[in-house]
Amino acid sequence: MTTPTNETGTTQTWVGATTLVARREVHTKVRDKAYLAGFGVMLAILVASLVVNAILAARDDGSGGTVAAVGQRAASMATQAGLSVQRVPDHAAGVALLRSDDDSNQVKALVEVAHGRVQLTGTSDVDDSVQKAFTATPRVHLLDPPPANEGALLALGIGFGVVFFMVSVTFGMSIAQSVVEEKETRIVEILVASIPVRALLAGKVIGNTVLAIGQVVVLAALAFIGTHLVASGGVIASLLGGSIVWLLVFFLLGFVLMASMWAVAGALAGRSEDLSSTTLPMQLVLMIPFFASVYSQKPNTLMTVLSYIPFSSPFAMPRRILVGDTAWWEPLASIALMLLAIALVLSVCARIYSGALLQTTGKSNLARAWSAGGDGPGRRPGRRRNTTGEPVELQAAGSRR
């Protein structure tokens, strides 16, 4: 900072101001009882559904059952694991036993020991109860792996879309509300006289992104732990696999892309009553891609196109990744487009936000806010004839630093 110091110490830096704003957003939210209650209900529903699942799964689950074993070591380990063992001479015999159509066949898996590790072979599935019987997690090999569970993947993809939609709207509205609150109470006049407008915007975006991601991570962690406690856990975990990282990346980028737009929706409103109309476009921007991606159930051209358009890619690309419809470079290309869009949207929104922030006469319009926002940085005060005559000009602090 080249700005002089004041009596109390140093002038706030850009980063410092942004951090303070972000921290306040988070503090305010986590102390908001309505928000906590909502989140609590969400957690309760999730836990309840896991418990119900676990109870149903427990009912299904019989004892360990019978397995075939190759070799003395495998047989004794299986016995130790509390399974009843049927010895077979070799792998081929075990497979034959597994595949036999005999109704009396109780063999659920073939147990072998290779390189000190237990390997289980099953036809299309290995019972959880068998897997859990061993102390060390066994390696599982399936003879006829089931085709990717289309129904489950579809549900997972849509579920992800729903979570993204809900969290985006929740925290997007929270950004808009936080902006309009500052406008309504005129705190904004003190704020813009204290810190750069863009630091204020950045702080809001970062604070709410942290909150949104935090909430998703808590939900995901709980779901992850929960599904591992119930029988079907292995299935979901295997379905998700590495795509969980992609899901989070698309979630993060998708949220950040929209965040500054929510701030603009807040800045265009004069009072919190105006929010329902100024945030309507935002809700549509979320809803249209959401439904478009829900309705195209199978991978198709529409889905491919949607997975590259920045606003719909957080819905479409994760679903394509889940069903394995993507080449390795496709998510990366989509992310690159997303980053470009974020850069563009942020700079446009920062300008509109600056311009609309101090318009206190009711709802603002985009064009006016745009031209007002452009006046801020680099403009010499008092040397410009006012042509529009609207009381909207803001000496945006963006020129500082």
Binding site: T11, T185, E189, R383, G389
Partner: protein, 301 residues
């Protein structure tokens, strides 16, 4: 440490609201900014804080134009105010301190002291929305002062305050002025302005109509008023030639005499008093200090 406004002009939609406003706020001076509603006070203050831009003219601080870095060292209290409704008072004050670059510890300490000096120490941890409007106002004053600003620009800091709160805020402002901080504040409470201010700037319809100390403004009026209370009826004063009698009410006469410091004023007063004493009892003969409200009315008339 001088704030200087030089020929500030501003219009909204072709309607001029400020027309060449020029005045100074000098170190340690408390300047009262007076004017009817819509006279342009708030617009002027917003221009000083760079929340609005001027169409013409310049605002300088110690001789250089006010920029973004400079204005962060000013303390500002906006016209329509509010802080975060759901945030505890002390946290808001601390937040504004930190936004101005104070360390958390420093901001916490100063916020506590300030809230105590405006009489809010006991409510420090209450949410703002749970406070009365007057107390919210006190919190607002504290928020404007937390970063030890070099200049104070306060839009109606006294509106809605009870007399005790007014005194508390006055003490705080006087304390800052004693440290050399120039203070500019607007108010409609003219008795208060008269009591507190060193200088007064009067705006009317976007123009400056008066600027100076209260005494200077009075002197500019040119004459002083006197009250004469007699033992009997005061009607005879009307018969004295060249004496401007404003009012006679039974035993009390209100008169206008030339400025108290002028020689002709002194001889006129002596002649009047001698005549009154000859006629009977004189109970009171005193200068009526022209109240600021009157100076104001005349100035904006």
């Amino acid at each position: 440490m001088v704030l200087q406004l030089d020929g500030i002009c501003r219009s909204f939609g072709g309607r001029p609201v400020l027309d060449h406003i020029s005045f100074q706020v000098r170190p340690g001076r408390i300047v009262g900014f007076v004017g009817a509603n819509g006279a342009g006070k708030t617009t002027t203050m917003r221009i000083i804080m760079r929340i609005l831009s001027a169409d013409d003219g310049a605002v300088t601080w110690n001789g250089s134009p006010v920029d973004d870095a400079t204005r962060t060292r000013f303390g500002y209290m906006p016209e329509e105010r509010g802080l975060y409704p759901k945030m505890p008072v002390v946290e808001q004050v601390r937040y504004f301190g930190e936004l101005h670059g104070m360390s958390a510890a420093q901001a916490t300490a100063v916020a506590g002291q300030l809230l105590e000096s405006v009489g809010l120490a006991e409510r420090a941890h209450d949410k703002l929305k749970d406070l009365s409007l007057g107390n919210q106002q006190r919190a607002q004053v504290a928020a404007a002062l937390v970063h030890a600003p070099e200049l104070l620009v306060l839009d109606e800091p006294f509106s809605g305050l009870d007399p005790l709160a007014v005194d508390a805020v006055i003490d705080v402002l006087r304390g800052r002025a004693r440290q050399g901080v120039p203070v500019l504040f607007s108010s409609h409470q003219l008795d208060l302005v008269e009591r507190l201010c060193d200088d007064i700037v009067i705006l009317s319809g976007g123009r400056m109509v008066a600027d100076g100390t209260v005494e200077e403004l009075r002197a500019r009026a040119g004459s002083s008023r006197y009250r004469l209370v007699l033992g009997g009826d005061a009607g005879w004063v009307r018969a004295i030639p060249q004496l401007s009698v404003l009012d006679v009410d039974g035993d009390t006469a209100t008169l206008e005499l030339p400025d108290e410091n002028s020689p002709s004023g002194a001889s006129q007063r002596r002649a009047l008093l001698e005549q009154a004493m000859q006629r009977g009892d004189v109970r009171e003969f005193s200068v009526i200090r022209t109240p600021l409200s009157e100076i104001f009315r005349e100035a904006v008339a």
